[in-house]
Subunit: 463 residues, 2 copies
């Protein structure tokens, strides 16, 4: 049980009393049916790499983990689709089809560990979502077990279907509408040519200016990622990758894909614009091995930071690309005010920030200080016209900030939609939405709505 006491957000822990490890859809259905009969809540869990406490068993809920559901169920290359069980690891999908010239586009940094089921729950993004879109753009069909234990299908093998888009509602619903047990994904053709650039800058603002110039010139990179000096140093200490210049204030990683000549021209243009923005040097990687070496630092940055600071709290705010420079400067100020180091490693092309608040869990009272700084950073993002989450979900972690973005009426509407799937509120209760128990004042209006006769799931108003 101890292994299931938290997900990737280690700030909050609660050990579940029962974990079920099914291998088939029928076993998932049997477990959920049993929960439904007994009125016991359940929590779906994939690989447990989530970063918003979405798979945390806060109450006496049963955890249903899909980590033994790892079969590829069907491969239909001619129609460019694959059907997998939810426990299949993200990077395994590409591995299964790469030999035939295909890949699966959404690639969270945790892709060697995170599951497709978890990706569906969180509507995960990744480096390549700048050009290719998030999970929702790549899921055609879902078989799922509903909260009453029945089995149904949403979507279909085709991208365009009539009726309300229940497939789309399910994706990103963070386990609150049921458990996906078979997922049909869209496969893309491997691009014929890929190059990666690494440019270093003397300031984050200069790197931000390079992002602005590249986007403004009409270049659409497959990915465009930024790392600040604390990340660069941690990566250098860990891997000794000499591609990452230790003293740079920022590096930008730019992946360009497509036709070889198109990539060549885009590389020349992007390099020139990086230098124009003040880059010290621009390194190019063309071979698969050289590209992997440049990406290694980015994909392992958080691991590398863990050597200095055993604990971190990773935020996931989004801002319009044009607001990046001011928001990054404001995060620096907040970091100094709160006396907590913040490292930045993020999807610059999408404006999807990942400020990483670093701390040592053994310092007394540090949890509250870390949470307070995280909240202030998200407040900044909202004020810049952004959002409290890009790809990590709300889970238990950010539910108290939901009313910064959504009115009580908006949330009540979402609860009614949720209730259409889960009338008894047994699927991952208490997640996403503020409740008076978890968020006090911020859930007051939901209680008022209930008094006005709006029927909400029990956990929305449970004290």
């Amino acid at each position: 049980m101890l292994a299931y006491d938290c997900d990737g957000l280690t700030l909050h822990r609660h050990q579940p009393r029962l974990v079920v490890l099914p291998e088939t859809t029928e076993q998932v259905a049997a477990a959920v049916r049993c929960c439904a009969e007994q009125g016991v809540p359940f929590i779906a869990r994939g690989s447990g790499t989530g970063l918003s406490g979405g798979a945390l068993a806060e109450t006496d809920a049963v955890v249903i983990a899909t980590s033994r559901m790892r079969q590829v169920l069907q491969l239909d290359l001619e129609n460019q689709r694959i059907t997998v069980q939810p426990g299949v690891i993200n990077s395994w999908v590409t591995r299964a089809v790469a030999g035939d010239g295909f890949y699966y586009a959404p690639d969270p940094s945790s892709q060697v560990a995170c599951s497709i089921g978890g990706n569906v729950a969180e509507n995960s993004g990744g480096v390549h979502c700048l050009k290719y879109g998030v999970t929702s753009n790549h899921v055609l069909e879902l078989e799922l077990v509903l909260p009453d234990g029945s089995i149904t299908t949403l979507g279909g093998g085709l991208p365009e279907l009539p009726g309300l888009d229940l497939r789309g509602v399910f994706i990103g619903s963070e386990g609150t509408l049921g458990i996906a047990t078979a997922i049909t994904l869209r496969l893309l053709r491997t691009p014929p040519c890929v190059a990666v650039l690494l440019a270093d800058f003397a300031s984050m603002a200069a790197a931000g200016e390079a992002v602005r110039l590249i986007t403004g010139a009409g270049v659409l990179p497959a990915g465009m990622e930024m790392m600040d000096n604390p990340c660069i140093q941690a990566v250098d200490d860990y891997f000794g990758l000499d591609e990452y210049p230790r003293d740079a204030a920022a590096v930008l990683l730019i992946e360009l894909d497509g036709h070889p000549l198109e990539v060549k021209e885009a590389v020349e243009l992007a390099s020139r614009l990086c230098l124009q923005a003040g880059a010290g040097a621009v390194r190019e990687a063309w071979s698969e091995e050289a590209r992997a070496r440049l990406w290694k630092g980015r994909k392992s940055a958080i691991t590398a930071l863990g050597r200095q600071f055993p604990s971190y709290y990773l935020q996931d705010g989004v801002v319009p690309r044009t607001a990046l420079p001011t928001v990054l400067a404001a995060i620096d100020r907040l970091s100094a005010e709160h006396g907590l180091p913040v490292a930045n490693v993020f999807h610059a092309g999408d404006g999807n920030l990942h400020p990483l608040i670093l701390y040592r869990a053994d310092q007394p009272g540090v949890g509250e200080r870390v949470s307070a700084l995280g909240g202030e950073i998200l407040r900044l993002c909202i004020e810049a016209g952004g959002s409290i989450s890009g790809e990590h979900g709300v889970g238990s972690d950010k539910r108290c900030y939901m009313d910064w973005m959504f009115s009580a009426d908006d949330q009540a509407t979402m609860q009614l939609v949720r209730r259409a799937f889960d009338p008894d509120g047994l699927a991952n209760p208490g997640k996403i939405f503020p409740t008076p128990k978890t968020c006090g004042e911020s859930a007051r209006r939901l209680v008022e709505l209930q008094a006005e006769g709006v029927v909400l799931p029990p956990e929305a108003v449970a004290f």
Copy 2:
């Protein structure tokens, strides 16, 4: 009122008793509020080009037409987005930003007439959705008037947001959840090079084989469209375009975009594969004017057919691309059996068929025969693993076929979601879902569900 007695589906007509033509969000809200207070249903209508009777006033409902809401509200090129009123015509969006090197990707064939609000209601596709996705992939934010007359916002200026994706549910909900009054769209960069190929074939099967070869070779055209001989002849009669070989059994139009060299190589490869599949000749068009000339026949095919047959019933089935040859052959057989000519002009790359049943409305009893053939064609599509609608919606036309694709429980769940937005069932009642009144037997299970205590909107069970 007479001008509002049908939309693009002229088979069914009913004159409304009141049409409201607001110019602002506040005027829409006032009209809807008035309907809500009086318990009067209302129907949103854009340009009236829809093909599923979605804007048909079957009951004594008020039609709220957005044709005077034609302002561009905000243009933010740096973040590649534009906000428009719902009555703005699809092609105007591209026209407004083309000078700056941008365009709006979804392009229904009716794009010179259809409105963005209507595109949102139907989740419209178009020629370019093969490569670039449908309307839902390009709408960031929606301001809407809910069925109680209040104004709210779904989505945000960013592609990734937390919470349930209510934006996604609204898009394609065919006017049943409210009226969009301001729509923020994603703009794409104009591709640097575009070419169009036109290949003619001695059989539809050969043209289908070319589609299979091109897709199999990893070429992703911006669009890939097929037309059969009746369409080719009609276009030739109308425009005298000598690019369309009069006696060909089929032509394939293939648009390729991207970097100039990538396009050049794709043109060579696609041409070679067309010839390998048996094409008589492959014509290339590179200049904007030459491309427009090739597209003219495709975009005006339905108009051209109207010279021979004043009335048509356009179906909108989708099948997996691999099922195209067998389904097309089966449609030919059905056409002969029913004694009604069927012309085919469709999005071959997506497997999105548009069989056009041609008739003369003055023939007694022809309406029933046309409807029966349409139903049989959709049955074929379902049996091939497809869908009853790709991009035209269900509306009043296809609701009686919904239970071919969706179980009564699925439909009841959609109704509960609908009820979260529209508890009194005033927004476009009777559309999408079968009711005992409109579809008799096929709605029986919904009535049973109601007897079991499931609360459904009144029109779902109104006789």
